[in-house]
């Protein structure tokens, strides 16, 4: 199987993020979908192929670290990447991913089974330059009738970065309900914009913090839906699995 165009771009971006320490990913592909699940299982992205793109003939799953070329095939449960260069053929085979593509798709569908009714906020990649990427988390919150706020706290040398929409902005995100505070790891957040410049975030309402959904604004250009598990500001150290209570 030789992938081209948009699929190759998605793979390349997922792999680039992996290498830059953004998201350590595993990539799953089946039928007309590509799913990217990060190492910590805090971010799951689903891409749909466009109608003119051929579906995947086989289910494929591999760690982004292992990706070696755009020409690959599954053989006996292993993914074999093939590269041809100067009359030589290089084959690299790698082991199975943690889950099957169907398992990851089921996981995605479990979170997408109900209508999303969170607080919607549209963000563009240009605002990333306002963030301090050395700080671990971004706190999101907002009050009904107002605009949302992003906060980063510097636990090393002190101080707060607060980011809020200026009056007269192009996208005015006035909230119908209060939400937050909810945290997202800074790396997870910035990584999302590698796939598309403008994203619509849907934050769960206050008291129902579970996960944040992210949708690409231009779905013709790239049809992406992401799920990000919320980071919570309680006094608990046990990691819990997100329960979809919607």
């Amino acid at each position: 199987m030789k992938i081209t165009g948009q699929i190759e771009q998605i793979f390349s971006q997922a792999i680039a993020l992996n290498q830059s320490g953004g998201l350590r990913n595993t990539i799953y592909a089946l039928n007309r979908e590509i799913l990217v699940l990060n190492y910590d299982h805090t971010v799951l992205l689903r891409f749909r192929l466009r109608s003119h793109e051929a579906p995947f003939a086989e289910h494929i799953a591999f760690r982004a670290d292992d990706y070696d070329s755009n020409d690959f095939v599954e053989e006996d449960g292993k993914i074999v990447f093939t590269t041809q260069q100067n009359g030589f053929v290089r084959k690299k085979s790698c082991g199975r991913a943690e889950y099957s593509p169907q398992e990851v798709k089921d996981l995605f569908l479990n979170y997408m089974k109900s209508d999303d009714n969170g607080e919607e906020v549209i963000l563009n990649a240009t605002m990333l330059s306002l963030l301090d990427t050395d700080l671990s988390h971004i706190e999101f919150s907002g009050e009904k009738g107002s605009t949302f706020k992003m906060v980063q706290r510097n636990i090393y040398s002190g101080g707060i970065i607060e980011i809020q929409e200026a009056n007269g902005g192009f996208f005015k995100n006035e909230l119908n309900n209060s939400f937050g505070p909810i945290g997202i790891k800074t790396n997870d957040f910035t990584s999302l914009f590698a796939f598309q410049d403008t994203l619509k975030f849907s934050f769960p309402s206050r008291g129902k913090e579970d996960f944040i959904t992210i949708r690409s604004m231009d779905r013709n250009k790239r049809d992406m839906i992401g799920i990000v598990a919320c980071c919570l500001y309680d006094e608990i150290i046990k990691i819990k699995e997100v329960q979809n209570g919607r």
Binding site: H41, C230, Y233, I237
Partner: protein, 468 residues
Amino acid sequence: MNYYELRKIVAGIVPRMTQLKTTHRHTDQVREKGRKRNYSQYNLVHKEWRKQERLLNTEEINSFLEVSVRASACPMPFNMDIWDGLICPFACIYCYANAFRASLYTAFFDNSKTMGFRHCNPTYYKQEIDKMLKYRVLPFEDKKNLTGINKAFALDIPVRMGIRFEDFLKKEGREKVSLEMLQYLAQIEYPVMINSKAFLPSREDYLKALSDNKAGTAIHITLISSNDEVLKNLEPGAPTYAERLQAMRELVSAGVRVVARIEPYLFLLTDEPEYVNKYMEDVWDTGVRNITFDTYSYTAQNQGIRQSFINVGYDYDRLFLAGCDSQPLGSLLLGKFMDLFRERGFSCSTFDLGNVPSNDQAVCCEVGDWFKGGFSYGCTVMAARYVKEREGKHTTWKDYVAWVDKKGGFLTEDLKQEVKRLWNLEGNVAYSHRWAVGLTPVGQDEDGNIWTYVSGTDYREELLKTMI
């Protein structure tokens, strides 16, 4: 602000992660370096196959007494390695020593996986220490002219066992190597301090060796929580909470200074009020009155350790960011945590530089009142204490060196230079007294910084205020 008020604030700064799906992965703390067994290479000169192996001595540690690499910060840096192994069976998931050994041994040797446990040669140790006995009877001024381990020995700085590896495992109970060394130290009346989680030191023959030592013996028993579930998750192979309490009780009864050791302090994990109260009651009941603490170490920033925490359902990132990665926050949390134990009547100290000025004892191991011999005063912990003692006065490097000299001097010239670099905020600043609350640079002279202690100021609290 008390500990639990602070904990709530910090929990509002560093959040907990949740997961879309639980992860449980096999953890390799270190990716081994791919060394091979039975690997030969043809030698073109000698025209023969030669085995390419570098073998570790799996029976014996070729080591002797040493001045610790952490001596620039530590008042008790005199170590004796008895036992060693690739993996400690206590399997504490927060411990980075296994990762360190795996990295070291698998990088350089081809047989590290088969090493099991190995130990020092006690006969060699005793012969060599016998040769050093003459230094103990020198006049004090002559002792000051010695260097390294000879000087540490001459000054009766307590020798420490169990720094790199647990010296009281089951195999020790059969082979009695540590016991032999304890008996020898008792015979020459040399002070000794043990770090352990084991039950074995409370066995009759060990108790006798410890209590027979007229120079004094002390033991740090690491016990970080009273919550059995947490201990089982964090220290799956170690003696239980009840067993360690029992060991404490018997050691105290035998006249050994027992210091409970809460290291690492783990934010939100080992600080639940119900279990902290239980801990204080139970440990007090054993007769223990001293506790030493520390935050988690930067050295624990290891992917395998992180995954081990996640595997048992604990958010490593949260406790590491708040309790360690941010040195000011971790230090502030630890200081307030220690106050809970002080209120109950315990004497509390820590190696965490931020809290050193408020330690209840100058020696952070809580044995400064126990041993009658010397300590290493040429280190940043003691420098911070000295500057604090001179509250209101300016302290120059020369003032400090003169004070250290009266106490026996620096253990080596290299150590003196390293401490001087830290005094001037150079070198590995993680161990610098710049973190010590109240220590303030007030000028410079030809040796660098001049320090003073200003009470009532706390840069950690100031930093916290900027975040809320």
